[in-house]
């Protein structure tokens, strides 16, 4: 029987399991198998890709926020500027502005001076005041003081606001005329082609106009800067043009001289910083008066509407206070509930109800807890709005199911022999649980608690409901002070229109993620270190 099938097998090419059709089927099945496997691997890879994309976006956005540019200014602190008897009454911001004005003596006119003053942060006065308060000996002389730059100036220096093109040398440039508008002469008309490439507008008679919609051509010559506005080629060769003086030339250029052409590729209309400000900043940077420092303001100040002054410390303190309340409430209550349900409760209708409730609460949307907090804690108990106390209470109710479920699992993992041994030598039920079972379950309970706290730390929605979204400048000092927390701060900053806040938001996210990583790492270590197999 078997012999015959074996012998006929290879001979007939269209056997059920060996024929060409069967081979095709088998190949198709294997192909389907490979496809399925790759689909699965693709799904995992896709999740990994999403994570990588998310993290890399945030990290690249965040890094600039950890640095801040400062400008070093000579500030006159003599007695006629600051009254030594009452230094606090002085106009500190005015002193900083005077110091900046001294760097650019040629800047005149109301509008131009205002533009110049805008380069330093409006908080520069506070920085100066704090520095003087820290070292009153400074009063009476002229001192070199570092003050933070405005957010737009800072972003420009970080290269995030305008794209600079390459600088190139141009030989034999003539500048004639005086005042704001000057005439320019170029030895060859290569600059015409460059201007065309830079989006210059064709004017009448073959001329070119560089407008605010095209790239900016800034010509550095004779210690000054001229912005090219018009160009046209000459029949005799070369080109002529007109320009606006952005920075006074130190000497007149009667004989042709070498110049440097600096292009700003982002059109002036598309950026939040003018050519004039760029020239000033370049001048300050060229003179070594700008320093890029580690952004201590960001870490150690409270919130502010000014991006360069906005800090994370207020939110970190608020988060810490909120977490203290959450932990103080949810840990003992959660552990106690778990002990009751796991060690004491007999199965009856009440304990069933409690269990169903705990499982349901774990799945209730977090915003509903916020509504509960608003209706019960704020409106009924009239507890203070925006306070870490209330935030902590709401988050405690939210984390309670997580802690109870984790604590029950940890208690269940303790073998009954431990309990029986304790009971056998005469311990009471309560003593057995508190002296023997609970200590053994503690590592597991701690792990669950830390994970629950990490969830609570990242939670935003319920805190919006109880008013923790208010704009709070002061660092909270107690559990009933108005405060905000890290995730809510992130939410608020993400909404601000200033581009510098995008970096601040990302940096705040990095700090939040840092805390979460630390908490989860502790949980993992606890689990690894103290996990016991019975």
């Amino acid at each position: 029987m078997t012999d015959t099938t074996l012998s006929t097998g290879p001979a007939s090419p269209d056997g059920l399991h060996t024929g060409d059709a069967a081979k095709m089927r088998l190949r198709a099945r294997y192909a389907a198998e490979a496809r399925f496997k790759w689909l699965g691997a693709g799904a995992v890879a896709l999740a990994g890709f999403f994570l990588l994309l998310l993290l890399s976006t945030i990290v690249t956005k965040a890094l600039p926020a950890f640095q801040q540019h400062y400008v070093m200014l000579e500030v006159d602190l003599s007695a006629d500027k600051i009254d030594p008897a009452d230094p606090r009454a002085a106009n500190f911001l005015g002193l900083v502005h005077d110091g900046l004005g001294n760097e650019f003596p040629q800047v005149s006119g109301r509008q131009e001076r205002r533009l110049l003053r805008g380069l330093v942060s409006t908080g520069a006065g506070v920085v100066l005041r704090e520095e003087i308060e820290a070292d009153p000996a400074m009063l009476g002389g002229t001192h070199r003081i570092a003050v933070p730059l405005d957010d737009f100036a800072d972003l420009y220096l970080k290269g995030l606001l305008a794209k600079s093109g390459p600088s190139q040398r141009i030989a034999d440039v003539r500048v004639s005329g005086a005042g704001d508008e000057v005439a320019l002469g170029f030895a060859d008309d290569a600059i015409m082609a460059m201007a065309r490439g830079a989006g210059a507008v064709e004017g009448e008679g073959g001329g070119l106009r560089l407008t605010s919609g095209s790239q900016s051509f800034l010509l550095r010559i004779a210690g000054g800067t001229v912005k090219i506005t018009e160009l046209s080629s000459r029949e005799a060769g070369g080109a002529v043009g007109k320009g606006t003086v952005l920075e006074l030339l130190e000497r007149s250029v009667e004989t042709p001289a070498d110049a440097t052409l600096r292009t700003i590729e982002t059109a002036e209309a598309d950026r939040k910083i003018t050519d004039r400000e760029i020239v000033w900043l370049d001048r300050l940077a060229g003179a070594g008066k700008i320093e890029n420092r580690w952004n201590t303001l960001f870490f150690f100040t409270g919130a502010s509407r000014e991006p360069e002054l906005a800090g994370i410390w207020g939110a970190v303190v608020g988060s810490a206070l909120t977490m203290v309340v959450t932990l103080a409430l949810s840990f003992p209550i959660g552990v106690a509930a778990a002990i009751y349900l796991e060690e004491f409760a007999t199965r009856n209708r009440l304990t069933n109800l409690i269990e169903v409730n705990i499982n349901n609460l774990a799945a209730v949307p977090s915003i509903v807890f916020g509504l509960l907090g608003l209706a019960v804690f704020l409106n009924w108990f009239s507890l203070p709005r925006s306070a870490p106390l209330v935030g902590g209470m709401v988050l405690a109710l939210m984390t309670l199911p997580t802690i109870i479920i984790a604590a029950r699992a940890a208690l269940r993992a303790v073998p009954p022999s431990i309990r029986e041994a304790a009971l056998g030598i005469g311990a009471s039920k309560v003593q057995t649980v508190f002296h023997h079972v609970l200590p053994l379950a503690m590592p597991g309970i701690m792990t669950g608690t830390i994970i629950g706290m990490a969830q609570a730390l990242g939670e935003t929605a319920p805190l919006l409901m109880i008013g923790m979204v208010a704009f709070i400048v002061d660092i909270p000092g107690g559990f009933t002070d108005a405060a905000t927390v890290l995730p809510v701060q992130i939410f608020m900053w993400a909404d601000f229109p200033e581009p510098a806040f995008q970096q601040k938001t990302s940096a705040a996210i990095l700090i939040l993620l840092g805390f979460l990583v630390i908490m989860n790492a502790i949980a993992v270590v606890l689990r690894k270190r103290f996990e016991r197999r019975w």
């Binding site: 799904a43 945030i58 109800l353 209730v364 019960v376 009239s382 929605a461 409901m465």
Partner: protein
């Protein structure tokens, strides 16, 4: 003042513990074995009875007094407050309290100053009363407890009974929370539905509560009952949830299958933490990512192929929400797939099926109830998710199923209606509670169905 009282009580408890201990030891002349309960238990007993009632009294006083003080002040200034609506009344009391106890006063006036004086004197009296009461309770408790300590006294039984009741009380908090949620939602919703017919709310097609007319003086005037129709919000929620599940269900499920049936130990050691990190990232971070990276990306792609994509498109919010839910789906279905007994897989392999055929024809059908339940839980999660949609979805209620347009969701509207310093008594703010109730009911129903599916259709293999 009261804080010092509490500190005093805590100190008293600590002292009572040691006193109780040493008295118990002294009562048997150092022969501890003659005691019924351990010395420490006598100490705990004395500490509990000395400080417990006083602390409880302070707690109750803390919760009850603000309301009592408010009603006394209201009664005393009834004439001045007669014409006030609820919001003005609240503002009045808030300001008077701020004048009396320090704080930011928005509009000081003479009546408020007078009320502040009343507040201050009331507060003085009540602090005096509670201090006296607490001291009496503490003294009485200490003396009573001290007199009870004796070799035969069953201190352990008392202490353990108290501990057990404390444990029961703690586990009741879960029930209390549920009751609190349900009551607060229902209470505000009933007020809302007394103004807006429930039919208009559930089936109305138009949602624009910002245009609700509220009369001057706080009392609600002619509220346009046609502008509280929740259908566009539900449709928006449904659309975003649908997009999210379109991403999360296949990716999460395939990832779970791959990790449980294909991946080597090393791949799993990398992939599991990746999914866990994805699950641990706060939703506000996803929201920022959606609003700043994904939405402009979709907009740019749409522009390049000639489509008009809204900058707050449902697509962006939905996709990011899907990414957020992937780990949720995968970890839940991973458990379910792992629970399918190996013998089923072996049997299928023995019949000559490839691994993918085993999974598709044997494992998945066996795990189906669990997978369906996992997907339902994921839907419930997506419906209740707030921050991603608040940051990346729109505010205007469009009744559309076009994923390229901006839609709004139930959670977004709850946040918009309640964030900001609004008086807590218009149809607008109550609408938020009605929406909250709707959300609670929907998610609860999804969870219950998910549970039922598992219970009803689960196969028992062992």
């Amino acid at each position: 003042m009261v804080n010092y009282l509490v500190l005093l009580m805590v100190a008293l408890a600590v002292a009572a513990y040691f006193v109780g201990r040493s008295r118990a030891v002294a009562s048997v002349g150092g022969e501890v074995s003659r005691l019924h309960s351990l010395p420490g238990q006598h100490g705990l007993f004395l500490a509990m009875i000395a400080a417990g009632p006083a602390l409880l009294a302070v707690l109750i006083w803390r919760i009850a007094t603000p309301g009592i003080e408010d009603s006394i002040v209201q009664a005393r200034f009834a004439a001045e407050l007669a014409e006030f609506g609820v919001p003005q009344l609240q503002a009045f009391l808030r300001d008077a309290r701020a004048i009396a106890f320090g704080g930011i006063v928005s509009f000081p006036d003479e009546t408020k100053e007078a009320a502040a004086v009343v507040f201050r004197s009331l507060h003085q009296t009540s602090i005096g009363l509670i201090t006296a009461l607490a001291l009496i309770l503490a003294a009485g408790g200490s003396l009573f407890g001290y007199s009870r300590i004796a070799p035969a006294y069953r201190a352990r039984h008392v202490v353990e009974r108290v501990v057990k009741w404390f444990l029961i009380l703690c586990s009741m908090i879960a029930i209390l929370t549920t009751i609190g949620i349900v009551l607060s939602l229902i209470f505000e919703s009933i007020l809302f539905f007394s103004e807006i017919p429930i039919f208009n709310f559930l089936f109305g097609l138009h949602w624009s509560p910002q245009s609700a007319f509220t009369g001057a003086g706080g009392e609600v005037g002619d509220v346009n009952t046609e502008i509280f129709g929740a259908v566009p919000l539900l449709a928006g929620t449904l659309l975003i949830t649908f997009i999210a599940m379109l991403i999360a269900a296949p990716v999460g499920l395939m990832a779970a299958i791959y990790l449980s049936d294909y991946a080597t130990q090393r791949v799993r050691a990398v992939a599991k933490p990746v999914l866990e990190i994805l699950a641990g990232i706060p939703t506000v971070v996803y929201g920022f990512f959606a609003a700043l990276t994904v939405a402009p990306f979709f907009r740019g792609v749409g522009e390049s192929i000639g489509l008009d994509v809204a900058s707050e498109s449902a697509l962006a919010a939905g996709v990011v929400m899907g990414i957020m839910i992937i780990p949720f789906v995968s970890s839940l279905s991973d458990d379910v797939i792992n629970a399918v007994p190996q013998s089923l897989r072996d049997g299928s392999a023995g019949l000559g099926a490839t691994r993918s055929e085993t999974i598709r024809r044997v494992v998945l059908p066996a795990a189906l109830p669990g997978i369906v339940s996992a997907l339902l839980l994921a839907v419930s999660r997506a419906v209740g998710e707030t921050m991603i949609v608040v940051m990346a979805a729109g505010l205007a209620a469009n009744l559309t199923f076009n994923p390229l347009e901006a839609v709004t969701t139930v959670t977004v509207q709850i946040v918009t209606l309640l964030v900001g310093d609004q008086e807590f008594d218009s149809a607008k703010t109550r609408a938020a509670f009605a929406l909250g109730l709707l959300l609670f009911v929907i998610t609860l129903a999804l969870n219950v169905i998910a549970l039922r599916v598992v219970q009803k259709y689960r196969e028992q293999y062992d």
